[in-house]
Amino acid sequence: MRRKAGALLSIEIGILQAGIALLRGSDAEFHGYAMAREIRDQEGARSLTAHGTLYRALERLEVRGLLASRWEDPEIAAAEERPRRRMYRVTAEGEAAVQAVAESAQEPAKALKRGLAAS
């Protein structure tokens, strides 16, 4: 099934919501694994999102301008003796997209209320 142009997949909404949640918890930026863990915790899932699914979704969101990314300073990674992280952050457009999804989800309930009020 082909999705509507501009529509977000559930994994993409999950990433943006988790990214915003991390932002509120003082982590302005997140790396791929942190995102996979956050999604697992939020959804109460047993397993982490697959690599392919996660990084493909992150790339799609970045291409659409809903996320921005940068590679961290190699010196920080070297100091902590670990591989470099690619850090992502949700952009203002990303936050607006999540807001729009939340509003559209409430639309059927509002329409029902309007219908009931009219009758």
Partner: protein, 319 residues
Amino acid sequence: MSGIAVVASRVACGWAAAYTLGLATQVREARCAEIASDVWEHHRDIVTEERHGWGFFGSVFSRVVRGVPADLLWRVNMEGPKVDIKIPFERIVGGLLLAMVVLLMITTSISGYDTAREGFDGELRRLADLGNTAHNFNAFFRAVTGVALIAAGAALYTNLKDRSPLLSGIAAFGIAAAGVLALIAGALQLVFVELAKEYVASSGAHQEQVLVTARGFAVATENTVAAAFIALVLSTYVLAILAGREALVPRWLIGIPVMSAAIIGGSLIAQAAGADLEWWILISGLFMSAIWLVIAGLWLLFAAREDRIAAAPGPAAAL
């Protein structure tokens, strides 16, 4: 990182390196670095939570396998309209048949343990003497073989489904099932190796207990490999029927798998009836199915198209 964590990391990074092969260096390095970082952070989490290395291996392997379709779609999207690879259908199928010969040999090479009580002690000591690197390499190799068989099944179905959806579906299912069984056999062997180390390190009643458990795993490994082998041989027969029907290879080639099936079937019936057969009779039957794969693969890869057309009386109706 522990040995098993290193294997898990190599599986994830090896797969990333495989599906990014041929892309621009910058894109390739970025994807591989991102996966390496993810696996490293994942491992650190596991260590912090003081969980077992096997859990980490399972989790990483599951994330790799579940992500394969998305990785392949990503790869296709990356190249987009630039991709203009026109490999003739016959060459793809020929290459896949030849690849199956190699995969068949690797899959069966895991077997051959002497599970008889008298010789089993030596098997365990021999395995325990091998270094961690050899075991890790072996496990990685087996994981790749299993995944490659699944991919070969999918690729054969994709290329042959227009000729015969039913036969290509049966063959692909058999090859993919062999792939799954090869993965299971690889995992069983890893446990078997751990038990071999424990056997050598222990003594007394515990050692006897470990020996019994290890024999159980060795027998399970042998049987799993046998099941994978049977699935591959049966798939080869189905492919031979399909190739013969569709005149992809000369019709006379079908004689090889027919003889193979007759030898194997006859041997199994004779054994069931209590006859004491020489082992090489059964092996020669199995070997003939591999011979068909080699000849058919080479024919499809290298024979002139005109030859194939001359050999073909016309495509049969799809089942």
